[in-house]
Symmetry: C3
Subunit: 131 residues, 3 copies
């Protein structure tokens, strides 16, 4: 299977967007019954994480926490105003490996997949490869 | 090979548990000689990392450091009292890809695989898939 | 394909080294047209990340930021003087999964692969496996 690219529109500078249904759809359409689903974000100011998608306040806390760990501002060497976004991207990371079983993503009960925008709003993409 | 689920009992709120022998056993029993071993934690307040398992003080430092980066407390939006655990889970991440060669995990001399509990004690699991 | 080990000489205690051409060469020489490229760092005080390789100040900011999150010093339990390096290694992580398409690494325009040294200078290695 070739790489599937999914487009994502983000609406804030920092944003966590639940993309679980989009990734699930790729798995279903590929008709794969078991294997792994590799997600890769081809950007340097965005990332992908897996966390709780039941209570939306969890993503608010994650964003607030990352803003404390890498505050926005002009005290960085990189002068494009988004150094904090680059740092957050490396802390969270651009890839995830998710297991596939019975034709579905093998996620825990409370887990959702979140595209992490750190320098939006923008039109982004995430790449999906099934093995 | 289907997904192998390993049960882990944790004994503290924050805990790093060396699960290297458990994962090594899955690889040995599967009889796979080379490939990759994908680990996936199906929880939103736990994670998996790889670090030194020679000196147990390393894991104490990692836990103390994460407690500083995401302090426990009630200053979060998420009101279940474990927002810090969700943040730590995203900082460390739920998956790792480890190489397999000669029928064994291809780890560095000092590396061990640690299940990271951030909201214990609980009975948890980690999923293993060999490719 | 067996695991390919690449040697890296680092020149500072904290250093991010662009290894994109080295990994690209492994993919080209293997003659693989599509799949995934798994990178694994077999050290406990080093890691691998993906970030911007156009402006070298980005890596300066990442290093400075990690130094704030895990300051060097003797206030740790681990008494080898490199506890900060172990913490940074777990924050960034030892592995990455990169997609391969058309015989090349499928990276975003601004993305480069960086070996992260946190306790150098040393001679290190990174392991590459193509699936």
């Amino acid at each position: 299977m070739v790489i599937k690219e999914i487009q994502i529109k983000t609406s804030a500078r920092n944003d966590l967007i639940d993309i679980t249904p989009l990734i699930e759809k790729v798995v279903t359409e590929a008709g794969i019954s078991q294997g792994i689903c590799v997600l890769f974000v081809p950007h340097t100011t965005a990332a992908v994480t897996i966390n709780e998608n039941a209570d939306p306040s969890v993503k608010v806390d994650i964003i607030a926490s990352l803003n404390m760990l890498a505050p926005s501002g002009n005290h960085y060497q990189h002068h494009e105003g988004n150094a904090d976004a680059h740092i957050k991207a490396s802390l969270i990371g651009p890839s995830e490996c998710i297991l596939v079983q019975g034709g579905r993503l093998f996620l825990g009960t409370w887990q959702g997949i979140f595209f992490c925008e750190f320098d939006g709003p923008r039109t982004r993409k995430i790449c999906v490869k099934l093995i």
